[in-house]
Amino acid sequence: MKPADKKAYDKDYAQAKKTGKPFFPYAIYKDTVIAGLTVIAIIVLAITIRVEVGEPVNPATTDFIPRPEWYFYFAFELLKIFANQNVLTPVIMATFMVPNILIILLVVWPFIDRGPERRIWKRPFALGLTVIVTGMLCYLTWLGANSPAGVAKGALPVSGLDEQATKGMAVYMANGCGSCHMVAGVGAPGPGPDLTNEGAKGWDNAKMIAWLKAPKAPMPSYASLPPQELEDLSTFLNGLGTKYK
């Protein structure tokens, strides 16, 4: 804002204050009404929709559905968008780039938009940004709320399994891999990549086990699994799309 604009604003605001009303009771009355209604709403919610006690933590069983609280659904859905881990959509976009760009934009916004205009219909860029960001947040939250929470139960539609691969698939099912990964259309479409053609990578079991023990974020480590199970799981995964289709 130019010095002349600042001066004009200061003068205009002084005028508004001069012809204004005292904070007490005019503003505080409105504040109290809305804050009071909000607190009542919280109490009503707490009474009608009771909080539950979930299952106790067991770090050994990884049969879990990593669903955050609803206010982080948008970040979770962002992970799914960038789940493919290729050059165009690297997972670092969702875990680092997009959130940090948004945070920096949020903090420095007053230094980007410095014009004197305050009416939203005369600030098309700000209006567009409001609509797009709000729309995206709502859409991603809605997606998160409606995403399939279920871990695929039973068997995966994969044939040609030998004995070790069958055991490996059981490990896959028991540890909730399907709540982040998809195999032949069964399981969640993210945040993890689709594993239907995992075998095409040509990894050996040692490499796969090393990965399962120390994977790239956001995937948690499966180092707590017994060595035999890791071996079975790796055999299963390394044959997906090649030996087992």
Partner: protein, 277 residues
């Protein structure tokens, strides 16, 4: 006030006044209160401008319910945390209500803070001279989100545990500083007892302290600079109308001065208005 003072004062009243005067002389509390409560604000202040106060009240409610929960909660990974949550929910008188209010309060606070931010953004209220108010507010938004993240782990059930493992992994995946942030959050390379007590301390000491500090700064800026006027308040609209009228009148004058232009009748409504002022 035109009450006439007759006779000796009531000793209680006298004592109270003397005490207030004593305190005011040393602290300026009377002047301060007057400065805070009876400052003028623009007349067109809207209902949308109550969201900041509401967010603050919800934060206060979270503090109170949080203190009550802390009286029963045990940050122990060997079953203690889980049992204390069960105890609060099922045994403690009104415990389910306090926990319910704390959990719902978190969701409501995030909604209110977002709506507050949207209001400020749409109204352009972050513009001169309120840029720093916006920055303190943006930190408050981030701290509120962080509050949600750290609080989620404390109930120590499967859902909370694994969601937090994934969230911390995301922090840890950031380039260069990521592994350090991950280690700081986890209190080591693995999730364990130290992680829970660290999250507990961050959730109930570090972030609330930071939020209280930023609320203080935020409030100071608001009181010092005054709450913004709606860009479409009655007063603003009147000024804009007058400016528009003046602009039109000037354009007409210019048109009149040009040869061969239309001569407007003297009784043109705008000019009549201008003349009346």
């Amino acid at each position: 006030m035109t009450t006439k003072d007759i006779g000796p004062k009531n000793p209680v009243q006298k004592g109270t006044e003397a005490t207030i005067d004593y305190v005011d002389e040393r602290s300026g509390v009377k002047t301060g209160t007057r400065w805070f409560l009876f400052r003028n604000i623009p007349a067109g202040t809207s209902w949308f401008q109550t969201l900041g106060f509401t967010a603050m009240v919800v934060f206060g409610m979270q503090a109170i319910t949080g203190i009550i929960l802390a009286m029963y909660y045990v940050p122990d990974t060997k079953g203690g945390a889980y049992q204390s949550i069960e105890y609060i929910t099922n045994e403690v008188t009104w415990g389910w209500l306090v926990r319910g209010m704390h959990k719902w309060g978190a969701s409501v606070m995030i909604i209110v803070v977002f709506l507050h931010m949207a209001r400020v953004f749409i109204w352009g209220a972050y513009k001169y001279p309120r840029e720093l108010t916006w920055i303190t507010g943006s930190f408050l938004l981030l701290l509120t989100m962080f509050m949600g993240l750290t609080g989620y782990l404390l109930v120590w059930d499967q859902k909370a545990y694994w969601a937090t493992v994934v969230a911390v992994n995301i922090f840890a995946s950031a380039p260069i500083v990521g592994p350090y942030i991950g280690d700081i959050l986890r209190a080591g390379p693995e999730f364990g007892p130290a992680t829970l007590s660290r999250f507990y301390s961050i959730h109930m000491l570090v972030i609330p302290g930071a939020i209280a500090t930023f609320i203080g700064l935020h409030l100071y800026f608001i009181v010092r600079l005054g709450i913004s006027e709606p860009p479409w308040s009655k007063r603003r609209l009147r000024i804009e109308r007058d400016e528009e009228d003046a602009r039109r009148a000037a354009a007409r004058e210019k048109a009149k001065a040009l040869p061969g232009s239309v001569n407007y009748p003297a009784s043109w409504p705008v000019e009549a208005k201008e003349g009346a002022r």
